[in-house]
Chain length 375, copies 2
């Protein structure tokens, strides 16, 4: 079969789906997106859009009937439904099994720990009596800080417990890691098991949402080596095909703990669009269609800054002209979401420079100018 | 007005239109394409497709009513119709006037010559009696070698004249330039007159169709400087907004002649997608929407090779897996044309390397493997 005749189904039509499609279209693939929102970012560049909820089994079946391979841009989808599709012979990458484990933070940590990968100490929470200072988390459904509550002292227990459903949802308690730095590693695996691992990204979060990614990360060669070897091990635990992101904490003593694994291209890998020859979306598409990978080396120091909605209302980008005029090394990506909401991911911009300090400085300047507001 | 709320109309939905849209979509622009082919490459990534001929005035008006700015990806369109739209207050970049001059090779050469830009000697042909050895050309409608006939000796005159309509179409005769090298320069101009000029591309044609582009071009610093200064002068002759391509001949004595100007992104500028931070399509979109330009410096030596249809039939890409497996520095672009025809531009691939000799070698290897055939 001509590889490019393959039809790709993508569950989720947000910015990650959109950026997958922008790469897939360079190779001429036919794309069917499934998303609940008729105005989702992927809409205008998908060949077909199935408007349905991300847990709609019937819609999943409809999608499967239209395409040769299914992937997803978001992990909070109906994993059991994917399993049924797999049993029916449909091809889904990453596999439903790896998704299922990753969706449950407790199972994820257990799998990582069993493979000898360092994770913060953790335990299941059966009742409020199990709580003590640490990071309280719902085992499922959390993202961007949602589904977590920090218990700094015993006095925080009641509020933290109540804020996460007071036992209505499965909870786990993790040791709080007083990290010096957050890093992430994007890696892809092919159907035949071949792997590529991208350069390490240093991530700065604000209010638990990614703000800035700096590449190369400002870590020692030793820490870099350790992080890459952990990422490699993680990829062997979750045997899925496609792009994964491994988020890690680095402590002051350069100990590394895996915080979370995502079975998809990741916000902290957006830098690869400008920073690498083959970006995380292109290699994801190559992986799931059976094509060998493109180069993942860093071409030049790169900084990525998220554009979060500053306020609610009809989305409006401001400052693009001024920022572009001041700096030709800036590139803005706008996801095409019609509505801005405070802290919603509306777009991002990337800056390059010959040296990382220069890229950081350019990014900081541009961040003061480029904004997405609601009007 | 929020810049990204602008709606862009593109006349022509071929690969150049498609690649414009892939960049425009990164900034979230709304795109309406006009093309006669319901299966054109731009189709699946345009917000709307108006199916109409490239000289259909009514359809042009319909397009103008839907968008804030009109551009085109192809110069063989109805220039007088664009003029009428402009008179009605619609914004068209590049302007109908610059298109009109460029469409007529005789007017184009006259304008260039008047500005002191070196062009091959040329004259209008009124009858067969005007012919002598040289390059015979129709003044309008030629591309990729179509509309040209070489008169090597007096004996070729009859055949050449007959092959171009025997005087039914306006003809011109150009001095034949025995060039050592063909080069091209992509340049963009903004609404406010600001300009950027990309690195010089060295082009190798086979049967008058672009085969390979090598950047940096293998020319002396002196020739480079001369070519850039000529491109700059050409941009001042055609005062349009957007991306232009200036094709030039370089003789053994390093004399330079302008061969042709295209008022649009150009096949010889595809290398900018991987080779430069802001590629020719992104800067075209920035130009016509009033955004300042992104960096055009070369990031690394880059070679682009066209994938021409090898035979007629349903298009099939072969060799992608093998080529990718052998070389991670290759990236294939497939335009999504359902039908392959012999010598039709079906896609291209780009190779990068640290040194240009390496990129050329990789490209030559890949060229043996990657093919588009008709089945």
């Amino acid at each position: 079969m001509d590889i490019t005749k393959k039809r790709i189904g993508i569950i989720g039509g947000g910015q990650l789906g959109k950026m997958m499609i922008l790469e897939a279209k360079r190779l001429g693939f036919y794309i069917v997106t499934l998303d609940p929102d008729t105005d989702c970012p992927s809409k205008s560049i998908s060949d077909e859009l199935i408007v349905a909820a991300l847990d709609d089994v019937t819609a999943f079946r409809k999608l499967a009937g239209k395409v040769d391979v299914i992937t997803y841009e978001w992990e909070l989808i109906n994993a059991p439904a994917l399993k049924i599709l797999e049993e029916d012979g449909h091809v889904i990458y990453p596999s439903a099994r790896s998704l299922e484990i990753i969706q449950d933070k407790f199972l994820q940590n257990e799998a990582l720990k069993a493979a000898g990968i360092p994770v913060p100490d953790f335990k299941k929470v059966h009742s409020i009596a199990d709580l003590s200072p640490g990071m309280l988390k719902t085992t499922k459904g959390g993202y961007d800080g949602k589904g977590t509550a920090l218990i700094k002292t015993e006095a925080d227990i009641g509020v933290a417990y109540a804020s996460l459903g007071a036992g209505q949802k499965p909870l786990m308690l993790e040791e709080f890691v007083d990290f010096a730095l957050e890093i992430s590693v994007i890696a892809c695996r092919a159907i035949n098991g071949a792997k590529v691992i991208y350069p390490i990204a240093e991530n700065i979060h604000t209010n638990s949402i990614l703000d800035t990614t700096i590449v190369p990360a400002r870590i020692s060669a030793e820490t870099e080596e350790k992080a890459l070897s952990i990422a490699e091990k993680v990829m062997n635990v979750f045997e899925g095909v496609g792009t994964f992101c491994v988020e890690m904490f680095v402590t002051k003593n350069n100990d590394i703990y895996v915080n979370e694994v995502a079975p998809r291209p990741h916000n902290s890998g957006h830098y690869t669009i400008e920073g690498c020859f083959a970006n995380q979306f292109e290699n994801h598409i190559r992986a799931i269609t059976g094509l060998p990978f493109g180069s993942v080396g860093l071409k030049q120091p790169t900084v990525m800054v998220n554009l979060l909605g500053q306020s609610d209302g009809s989305a409006m980008l401001i400052g693009a002209e001024e920022a572009y005029l001041k700096d030709p090394n800036i590139r803005i990506h706008l996801y095409g979401k019609p509505q801005s909401k405070k802290a919603r991911k509306m777009g991002h911009f990337t800056v390059i420079d010959k040296i990382i300090e220069g890229a950081i400085e350019r990014a900081e300047r541009a961040k003061e100018i480029i904004k997405v507001i609601g009007t």
